[in-house]
C-alpha cells in the first residue's frame, strides 16, 4: 500500500466513523432516574437472599437455635418494613 492509498483509506475510515457517530438517530436509550421503588426492590432481593442463606446455614449447623431465631427476627423485621414501604409506593 502506498502512502497515498493509505491516506485515502484513512480519510474514508474517518468519514465512515464520523457518519456513524453523528447519524441523526431518534431511537436512543433515555437515562431514566432510578426511583425509590427500584431501590427498594433491589434491597428486597438482597434481604431475601440473606434470609435464604441464613436458613440454609442454620440447616447446615452453623447457628445455634437462639442465634438463628434472633438473626431471623432481625432480618425479617427489616424486610417487613421494606415490604410495607414497597406496598405503599406501589399503591400510590
Amino acid at each position: 500500500m502506498t502512502e497515498t492509498q493509505g491516506f485515502v483509506a484513512g480519510v474514508m475510515l474517518a468519514l465512515a466513523l464520523g457518519i456513524y457517530t453523528f447519524w441523526p438517530e431518534n431511537v436512543f436509550a433515555s437515562q431514566r432516574q432510578k426511583t425509590r421503588l427500584d431501590y427498594l426492590l433491589e434491597r428486597k432481593e438482597q434481604l431475601y437472599e440473606n434470609l435464604r442463606d441464613l436458613n440454609f446455614e442454620y440447616r447446615a449447623g452453623k447457628y445455634p437455635d437462639e442465634d438463628f431465631a434472633e438473626q431471623r427476627a432481625l432480618l425479617e423485621n427489616e424486610t417487613a418494613q421494606l415490604l410495607a414501604e414497597i406496598e405503599h409506593l406501589q399503591q400510590a
Binding site: T4, F7, G10, L17, T21, S30, K34, Y48
Partner: protein, 687 residues
C-alpha cells in the same frame, strides 16, 4: 500502511476526545437539568457511538501494525527493531507487545475492546454506563495521546531501508510469550472498567449497591486474566530463563502482583457492601488503588525507575504516566471529598466471630502483602535518596517478610468459610473446626515422620519450617473447604432426596459465586503446596564427557552425545542425555543452547521432565572451550507441577463463579400472588 495506521490512531484520539467532551457535557446538563436546545440524551448517545467508532479506529491501527509485520515492512522503525523475515508467523504477533510502541497500541486496543462491549450493553443501566463510558474515554484519551505524540508506532526509518529486521528478542520466542503478555494486559487494562464504574457511581451518587452486581463479572473476568497472566509468566520464566525457579521477586513481577492483591481484596470486601451496605469508602478506595497500581506497574516496566530483567522497553514516556497518575489520584480524591456523604454507611458487626470480621482480616493481610511488595520495590529508590547508596531488595527479603504473611492469609482461607455471616457464638461452630484441626496436626506429624523437619544438622532451617507450616495449613484448609461442600450437600440431599453428587451439583448451581470461590481456594491451596516444594529443591552441575554420569535424586543422567545444528533462525548446541532410574533407562532428554542469528542473542532451551512428585529440569549451561564438552546443570524440583494444576482449579472456579446462580422458583411464582405478576421483580442471581 504506515500512513493509514498513523491516520487511524489520530482518528481514534479525536473520537475518544469527543466521547469524553460530549459525554461530560451531556452528563453535566442532565445533572443540572438546564434547558438547552439539543437533547442531552442525544448528545450522550453520540458520545457513546464515538466510543464504539473509536474502537474500530484503534482496531484499524492495530491491524495496520500486524499487517506491516507480516509483510516485512522494514521502512517502519518499530517493525525493523522487533521483527525479521525468518521469524515464525505466531511470533510475528508477539511483535505487537515486544516493544514500547506496540504494547501501547495493544493497551489502547484492549481498552477499546472492553469499552466496545460496555457501550453495546449500556441498556443494563443507561445512566451508570454513560458515566463509566465517559471515564473510560478519559483513560483512552491519555493512552492515545501518548501513542500519537510520544511513542508513535508508525514512525518511518530515516535513511536506507534495511533488507532484514533485528528480530524478536529470543526470550520472547516461546509459545507462552504469545499468550502471557496479552493475558496480563487484559488483566491490567480490565481493571479500568470496575474503576470507571466505581468512580462513575460515586460521581452520580448511585443509589444502592446494584452497581457492584453489574460490575462483578467484569471484575472477575479481569481478575481471571490477571491471574492467568501472572501464572503464565511464572511458567515462562521457569521454562525459558533456565535458573530453575519461577518467581524472582523482580520489580515487574511485583508490579503485576500488587494489583492482583488489591483486586482480590476488592472481590472479597464488596460482598460486605452488597449484603450489609458496609465499607463503602473502603471499597471505592480499593478499586481506585488497584487502578493506580496497574498504572504504576506499567510505569515501572517502562520507566527504568527500578532495574529489572524485564526492562526491554524503557523510554521517556514514564513522565507522561507520572502526570496521568497524578491527575487520576487528584480526580479520585476530589470526587471522594465531594461525594463522601454518599458513602456514609452504618458499620455494624454482630459478632467478632463472623464472616464479616474474617473478611476484614483478609483485607488487612492482602493489603499488608501489597504494602510489603510496594515497599520492597521502592526501597532502593528511598535508600538512594536518604543515604545516597542504592541497595538491592531481593528474594531473601521477600522470603522472610512476605512468606509469613502469605501463610497467615492461607490460614484465613480455611477459617473464613467455616464462619457464617452475622452473629454467631464460637461455641456453636467449634465442632466445625475439629476435623480441619485433626487434618492439620496429622499432617505435621506425618511431615516430621517423613523428614520434613524445621531443623537440619542441628541448625534451624527456615525453608523446611515454612514448608512444614504450609503443608499443615494446606491440609487444614482443604479439609475445611471440603467439609463446607459436604455439609451443604448434606442439607440439600436430606431435603430433596438426591444422592450426594447430585446434591453437590445443585449446591454449586444455587450459589455459584460462593462455591466457585471455594473451588478457587482449593486451587490456591494446591498452588501453595507446589510453592512449598521449593524448600526441597536440589541441583547438580558438572561437565560431561561422553558416557559420563550425573546422579540427581532418584535419577542418573548419562551423556550419550552432544552435537550442533543450525537453521535459518538460529544455531544450536545440544546434549543427548539418557535418564536412568533404579538402573533402568527411562527416557532421553536434550537440553539445548541456541544463538539467534538476527539478534545474535543466546538462549537456553531447558529440558523438563515433569511428574506429579517432582520435575527433572536440565539446563545446557555451555560448552567448555578447552575440551568442547557440555556443562550440564540438573535440578530436581519437587511438586512444581502442583502449581500449574492449582491454577487450573483457580480458572475453573472462576468460570463456575461467573455462571449465574440458579434462583429458587419463589413462592410468589408458585403460589398465586396477591399482587399482579409484573410488579414482582425478577429475582436475579443472589449471594
Amino acid at each position: 500502511m504506515a500512513a493509514f495506521g498513523s491516520f487511524a490512531l489520530l482518528i481514534a484520539l479525536a473520537l475518544a476526545a469527543y466521547n469524553l467532551f460530549a459525554g461530560t457535557i451531556a452528563l453535566r446538563l442532565l445533572a443540572t437539568g438546564q434547558p438547552v436546545r439539543i437533547s442531552p440524551e442525544r448528545l450522550a448517545d453520540t458520545a457513546r457511538r464515538a466510543g464504539i467508532a473509536g474502537f474500530i479506529a484503534v482496531t484499524g491501527a492495530a491491524f495496520a501494525l500486524i499487517w506491516s509485520v507480516f509483510n516485512n515492512d522494514f521502512s517502519i522503525a518499530y517493525i525493523m527493531e522487533h521483527s525479521n523475515r525468518a521469524l515464525p508467523a505466531a511470533y510475528k504477533f508477539a511483535a505487537l507487545w515486544s516493544g514500547q510502541e506496540g504494547s501501547l497500541v495493544l493497551w489502547a486496543w484492549l481498552l477499546g475492546t472492553y469499552g466496545f462491549v460496555l457501550r453495546l450493553t449500556h441498556k443494563t443501566d443507561v445512566k451508570l454506563y454513560a458515566y463509566a463510558g465517559t471515564i473510560l474515554a478519559a483513560v483512552q484519551v491519555f493512552f492515545l495521546a501518548v501513542i500519537n505524540f510520544a511513542a508513535p508506532p508508525f514512525s518511518l526509518l530515516k535513511g536506507a531501508i534495511p533488507d532484514d529486521g533485528n528480530g524478536l528478542n529470543p526470550l520472547l520466542q516461546y509459545p507462552e510469550m504469545v499468550i502471557h503478555p496479552p493475558m496480563l494486559y487484559l488483566g491490567y487494562v480490565g481493571f479500568t472498567v470496575p474503576f470507571a464504574f466505581a468512580l462513575g457511581a460515586l460521581m452520580m451518587r448511585y443509589p444502592g449497591e446494584k452497581w457492584i452486581k453489574i460490575t462483578r463479572s467484569w471484575t472477575m473476568v479481569t481478575w481471571l486474566f490477571l491471574t492467568m497472566g501472572i501464572f503464565l509468566g511464572m511458567h515462562w520464566a521457569y521454562a525459558v530463563l533456565g535458573w530453575g525457579g519461577y518467581w524472582g521477586w523482580d520489580p515487574v513481577e511485583n508490579a503485576s502482583f500488587m494489583p492482583w492483591l488489591t483486586g482480590t481484596a476488592f472481590l472479597h470486601s464488596v460482598m460486605m457492601q452488597e449484603r450489609k451496605g458496609m465499607m463503602k469508602s473502603w471499597n471505592v478506595w480499593l478499586i481506585f488503588s488497584t487502578f493506580l497500581l496497574t498504572l504504576l506497574g506499567t510505569t515501572l516496566t517502562r520507566g527504568g525507575l527500578v532495574s529489572s530483567v524485564h526492562a526491554f522497553a524503557q523510554s521517556s514516556i514514564a513522565n507522561w504516566f507520572y502526570v496521568f497518575m497524578g491527575i487520576v489520584l487528584a480526580v479520585c480524591i476530589f470526587t471522594y471529598i465531594l461525594q463522601r456523604s454518599h458513602l456514609k454507611s452504618e458499620q455494624r458487626l454482630e459478632s467478632l466471630v463472623s464472616r464479616e470480621s474474617s473478611f476484614l482480616f483478609n483485607n488487612l493481610v492482602l493489603l499488608a502483602a501489597c504494602f510489603v511488595i510496594l515497599w520492597g520495590t521502592l526501597f532502593p529508590i528511598l535508600s538512594e535518596y536518604v543515604q545516597g547508596t542504592k541497595v538491592t531488595v531481593g528474594p531473601p527479603f521477600y522470603n522472610r517478610v512476605a512468606v509469613p504473611i502469605g501463610l497467615f492469609l492461607l490460614f484465613l482461607t480455611g477459617v473464613g468459610p467455616l464462619l457464617p455471616w452475622r452473629a454467631t457464638s464460637l461455641r456453636a461452630i467449634r465442632r466445625n473446626f475439629v476435623v480441619p484441626s485433626i487434618a492439620l496436626w496429622s499432617t505435621v506429624i506425618v511431615c516430621l515422620a517423613v523428614g520434613v523437619r524445621p531443623w537440619k544438622n542441628g541448625a534451624f532451617d527456615a525453608g523446611n519450617f515454612y514448608a512444614l507450616v504450609a503443608f499443615a495449613i494446606s491440609a487444614g484448609v482443604f479439609t475445611a473447604i471440603l467439609s463446607e461442600f459436604l455439609r451443604g450437600a448434606g442439607v440439600i440431599s436430606r431435603q430433596t432426596h438426591r444422592n450426594l453428587f447430585a446434591a453437590t451439583y445443585l449446591l454449586i448451581r444455587r450459589n455459584t459465586r460462593r462455591y466457585g470461590g471455594y473451588i478457587i481456594h482449593i486451587g490456591v491451596v494446591i498452588v501453595v503446596v507446589g510453592l512449598a516444594g521449593a524448600a526441597f529443591n536440589r541441583s547438580e552441575e558438572r561437565e560431561l564427557a561422553l558416557h559420563d554420569k550425573l546422579p540427581i535424586g532418584p535419577y542418573t543422567l548419562e551423556c550419550v552425545g552432544f552435537t550442533q545444528d543450525s537453521n535459518l533462525n538460529y544455531n544450536s548446541e545440544y546434549a543427548l542425555l539418557d535418564v536412568y532410574r533404579d538402573g533402568k533407562k527411562q527416557f532421553q532428554i536434550t537440553p539445548e543452547k541456541r544463538v539467534y542469528l538476527a539478534s545474535q542473542q543466546p538462549q537456553t532451551m531447558v529440558a523438563i521432565h515433569s511428574v506429579p512428585g517432582w520435575d527433572l529440569y536440565v539446563v545446557y549451561e555451555g560448552t567448555n572451550p578447552d575440551t568442547g564438552q557440555p556443562i550440564i546443570k540438573a535440578f530436581l524440583n519437587p511438586l512444581v507441577s502442583w502449581i500449574w494444576a492449582g491454577v487450573v482449579f483457580m480458572v475453573f472456579g472462576t468460570f463456575v463463579a461467573l455462571v449465574p446462580s440458579l434462583t429458587p422458583a419463589t413462592a410468589a411464582l408458585r403460589v398465586p400472588a396477591t399482587k399482579p405478576a409484573p410488579s414482582e421483580p425478577a429475582l436475579g442471581g443472589g449471594h
